[in-house]
Symmetry: C2
Subunit: 730 residues, 2 copies
């Protein structure tokens, strides 16, 4: 009975303050874990599973080889396995108090302690920030983050002499190497720096070096120019967005979360989780929120099978639940299907066992980019919060450093569990030796980062910022407005300096109308004085069904679309002059039809407008790229041009029950009727469907806030826009 | 309490015999349905759901339009909806005894009775076997099969006069039209004949015309030359395989199952389910068994999203469970997730509610083709019966009539829920108007049926039987042997007359070795005297990883592979001379790597051997085909050639946990070492893996049965083959 009470108490008072003898949990949490391991429930099951694994591994001889191999090689993998094993064995000792686990950690650490002082720099050292155990100091910091946890758990079982042997042999020299001897990494405001300060800071707590904690928090000179606090200030936007995007945000999360947890447990007065308006928790929840159906949005350099079940986010969610008690986090934990053997992990396990999980509150949100959140933003518009919900991602972020792509005002669209309008992500097969050793492929720079690999404007077959990352990092779009309501979610942004003489702005609205129509209106305005070729691709997943454009197919042979900037990787499969007003393409993805329609508006009547169908695969003799497809609307003209687009979500294909509904586009006309209003500052888009329903999207560019009211006349009738935009049914 | 007892009794004595007043169930079953509808459980839930649907539809006016449209058109769909509604309303009346449902069926039938006698042939009549209500008599028979069920359920509520009006107005003239007036369809041994005899026979039971039942069973002249019994004799092989393959087997199943059920209920002494050694039940279970992960094998003209949850198989499984009580069928029923409101449906619902389902016993099996089962076979080899189990389908069947493909000795392979080596299936987008009205596309004949669209031998770019179905129907492969055990499943067949001067035979073995290696050995022997170009494609799903062959990629342009027989639809993406002994291609599908390796053995040392990579899409300006890929091993030579192939299943890619195991092929050599044995009739294949493990596959072609023992010497050691084949570890 008493045990149950303790557990319940812990769940209820999750933020209970108590300076600890342990790195990551209070004494009460340790007591609860010991009790829980012997009961039933998911914590006990995970404990048994992990115990069986470690017991099995213990049968093998301890193996601490001299460092020899680079990332992925033998010694690299062995040292990684060792640190995970020490962490796990430490956990088992903490829970069972069975000395054999403490001895295992001790004996492994003895080997490292005997070896480490003699190690030169790693034979395969990376040029920048080499390690000793590993080829790069990043891995060395990871080793320390894990191993110090194992040591922390067992140190009470060791003699003074044993402790000295270990601390003097490996922890002190390694922490010194990572801090004082590697100032350029340790003081760097970058995720590699976070790993270093977390490793050194956590070690400081465990072996009682408060000085190291101070350096980790405020930099080697303790001025605050470097260190964890400044990283918290600068690596995330106020909304918790990490500049490189969710794939790298996830990667960076682990040292942030673990070190913060250690600070919280050992220095509760620092109120680390409240710092900068709760930036750490925001970083965790934002990582969760930059996903669809469990997978991260594949923007920038992202490998697209990564999602919310990654180990980094398991730690993040577990720690965040302890701090907030937010029951939506439990749904994420459930999908992660991985319980941690920590005090916080027990709280998550108990809450899951009690069925406390509630749906995670995914909402539409503007994730500002940059330190102040004013260097563009990732705008996420979500509708229909069921399993098949729609998500429109409008990427108006800044460049995102070295892992950023040249894709200003790009977009992605998800529906019914599918990425319908896709981002290629990174060209990389992680850990697959045959594909350039699992590193980023040559085609990552040459294709995947180029603008043509995205769903945004390319002028004269030239990549944004001419493909120069340094230039890209200095410039960013400006978000003009974002408004979300039940029927329509809309956002608008402008990019002024991706090209020398072209400014473009884009407004995207996701509509779930009261009449049951689901569509996106996408207005891309190109301002220029010169004559240009303008390409606007839509990369879609699904089977082509039909087009309103008569194609000339490439029947007997086909050629690459271009020669550079990514165009050389695309086969031109078919092309057609656009003579009709609407250039439509319909495709089928799973059980839903999608039609993309484009109207090009220009004062120039001599438009040379074409629709192209392309597939990835030219100039790719080793099949390094995935043979996906896109449509491209192309126009050659001078002066301003508006691409007015709609993506309709329509119909149903049911192969099992043998029926098909509304396989054809319902859009009968799409027009810019702004000139028919009495107000030059108002944009009016009229869309008519075959059902007879007509919508008028009215945008007041100059409205100042959500309560501003702008009246205008159209067809002899007065309309009032509240805020920046409003959808009317005519 | 009494009600519960009745239900339990019905479950226990599912084959209880009782001549009925109802078409499809005994009085006891009706009583049980009435009781169950008011209780809880899945039958009651389905009853409520269906009742709500019909109640909603009843609010609308009855609509029986004059026939005007062809398949898919308005009047076609309305008449289809009407018959489904009558069947459902009849079921609701049977269960609730609420007169409003009987009245609904009556009133709809009145409209048909008033209209039908005046109808000429349908204005959009199909040339062969036109209907009156529908463009083809097939749909007319379907109308009758459903409507007569509705009428049967409600006729007890109608007056004599009402019955006469309906029977004289529509049932008698329609049944007469479908039988006496359409002898060519009614007496045809074909699934269209089955629909006709089922419709007329079921009507005979309901309106008491024993003569019609006799004609339905034995043909219009009652000689047995036509009719249901002869269809049972000839449309299925002894193993219950339907000549056109599972996609059409599923379609044909419904009239077979329903009519048989009606016979069983009304004429139990005919023992229809015991007929021909239980052929009806075999037809049902075989349909189930010709599937992987819920979807039918996509051989011949198959639309690949069809699977075991189709309505036809819901009826089949429900009826089969009533007859057999086989609890494996309940697992299929559970996956179908659809309860029928019939007596048999209630039994399935109760059994599911009681948790009686057991795994369906999928096993390796030879499904003989042809009336006697000796015109080739579909050989299904299954291993590891978990969710991720492997299935090798060796298609040594005969042609399969008009829906058959020219793919003698083709194969497919499934693993871990994926179709790894695929069959394209049919080129058709069912019910999608934009794709040739949802009919078979031109490309179905021009590409999908051609040999090059399959994984088997093509000689001189010419399709088997020169693409002549009539010739194909007269010739078939011969299965030489099949043996299944824990470690190896193997089958062998020969095709003598697909080409004028080429005979080819193929042996395929699926191995799950005791040492943990999983692979297929595939030996294709080509016997010819002439000089030929021989192509052996492997159509694979997944991302290309690497090849042992140095390709010349098609960098700036690529061309169609050929000009006819399906070759014109393939882009030649890359090609390379095979200089090394083993031509390997590795790809990744989901989380597993696959490597296909080929060695070409020939007495001719001047082999001109190439590996080609192709992708579907040339000459396809409307994107009617799906842009999938294949590798092709090609050799130009004279005389006999052996393609000795291996497909390895290896390694694991884990993107979430960021590890990759064994991404490379482990096969280091693959040799035909038959000449090193002392017995010319023995084939010896030696495969050596990099782990050091070497296997010797020994095949005794002339062994007579599974107990035959054949001894041979190899490397100075004696080995004994039991049966036709044996795998040794050297």
């Amino acid at each position: 009975m008493k045990i149950t009470h303790i557990i319940l108490a812990l769940v209820s008072f999750a933020t209970f303050d108590c300076t600890a003898n342990n790195l990551l949990e209070t004494e009460q949490q340790v007591d609860a874990m010991q009790a829980a391991a012997n009961s039933s429930g998911s914590f006990a099951r995970e404990f048994q599973r992990r115990k069986a694994q470690v017991d099995l591994a213990m049968a093998e001889k301890i193996n601490v080889p001299l460092p020899a191999d680079a990332g992925g090689g033998y010694t690299h993998e062995v040292h990684k396995r060792n640190y995970a094993m020490m962490r796990d064995a430490g956990r088992l000792y903490m829970i069972t108090q069975d000395k054999k686990y403490a001895n295992l950690v001790r004996d492994i650490l003895f080997e490292y302690a005997d070896m480490y002082p003699t190690l030169p720099l790693h034979p395969k050292q990376k040029e920048q920030s080499p390690g000793k155990l590993f080829w790069q100091s990043l891995n060395e910091a990871m080793w320390l983050v894990y191993s110090i946890q194992g040591y922390d758990s067992v140190k009470s079982a060791l003699t003074q002499k044993e402790r000295e042997r270990i601390e003097n042999g490996v922890f002190i020299p390694m922490a010194t190497y990572l801090s004082d001897e590697s100032p350029e990494t340790f003081d760097k405001i970058h995720n590699h720096g976070t790993w270093a300060v977390a490793a050194v800071g956590m070690t400081g707590y465990v072996i009682d070096k408060p000085e190291w904690v101070e350096k980790s928090l405020y930099g080697l000179d303790k001025s605050g120019k470097g260190g964890f606090m400044r990283q918290l200030d600068e690596l995330f936007s106020p909304e918790g967005y990490y500049n490189e995007g969710p794939y790298y945000q996830r990667f960076a999360l682990l040292p942030f979360a673990l070190f913060a947890k250690a600070i919280d447990v050992n220095d509760p007065d620092r109120n680390i989780f409240e710092y900068r308006d709760g930036i750490l928790l925001k970083a965790i929840t934002t990582t969760i929120e930059l996903s669809y159906d469990g997978l991260f949005f594949g923007i920038n350099d992202a490998i697209k099978d990564k999602g919310i079940d990654t180990m980094e986010l398991v730690h993040g969610v577990t720690i965040a639940y302890n701090k907030t008690g937010e029951k939506g986090l439990l749904t994420i934990a459930k999908e992660q299907n991985q319980i941690l053997l920590t005090g916080d992990g027990l709280e998550v396990a108990n809450a899951l066992d009690e069925g406390l999980a509630k749906p995670y509150p995914f909402v539409s949100k503007v994730y500002g980019d940059g330190i102040k959140g004013d260097e563009g933003a990732l705008v996420v518009m979500r509708q229909n919060q069921a399993a098949d919900h729609q998500t429109l991602v409008f990427k108006a972020t800044s460049q995102g450093l070295g892992h950023g792509h040249f894709d200003k005002l790009n977009w992605l669209f998800f529906n019914d569990g599918e990425e319908v309008v896709y981002d290629y992500g990174a060209a990389r097969f992680l850990n697959i030796e045959a594909k350039y050793g699992g590193h980023y492929l040559f085609e990552n720079d040459a294709y995947a980062k180029q603008t043509i690999a995205h769903n945004t404007l390319i002028v004269d077959e030239t990549t944004h910022f001419k493909g120069n990352t340094k230039v890209g990092n200095q410039r960013h779009p400006e978000v003009l407005f974002s408004e979300f309501d039940e029927q329509m979610q809309i956002s608008s942004a402008i990019m002024k300096d991706a090209y020398d003489d072209v400014v473009f702005s884009r407004t995207q609205a996701l509509v779930n109308s009261d009449e049951g129509h689901v569509f996106i209106i996408d207005i891309l305005d190109v301002e220029t004085e010169g004559k240009h070729q303008l390409d606007l691709p839509v990369h879609f997943n699904g089977q082509f069904i039909e087009s309103s454009v008569a194609f000339t197919g490439k029947n007997k042979s086909q050629s690459a679309l271009g020669e550079k900037n990514g165009y050389q990787y695309l086969w031109l499969q078919a092309q057609g002059k656009v003579t009709d007003n609407l250039a439509k393409v319909t495709w089928l993805n799973k059980n839903t039809f999608y039609t993309h329609s484009t109207v090009i508006n220009s004062s120039n009547k001599q438009l040379d407008q074409e629709l192209l169908m392309v597939r990835i695969g030219a100039n790719d003799p080793n099949f390094n790229l995935i043979a996906k497809q896109a449509l491209i609307n192309r126009v050659n003209t001078a002066g301003n041009v508006q691409f007015l687009n709609m993506l309709e979500v329509h119909g149903e294909y049911n192969g099992s029950r043998e029926y098909t509904i509304d396989s054809g586009s319902q859009l009968s006309s799409l027009e810019n009727v702004s000139s028919q209003s009495n107000d030059d500052a108002i944009t009016l888009i009229k869309a008519t469907f075959e059902t007879g329903v007509t919508y008028l999207l009215a945008i007041a560019k100059d409205a100042t806030d959500k309560n501003a009211k702008t009246a205008f006349m159209y067809s002899d009738k007065e309309y009032v826009i509240q805020g920046n935009a409003q959808l009317f049914r005519l």
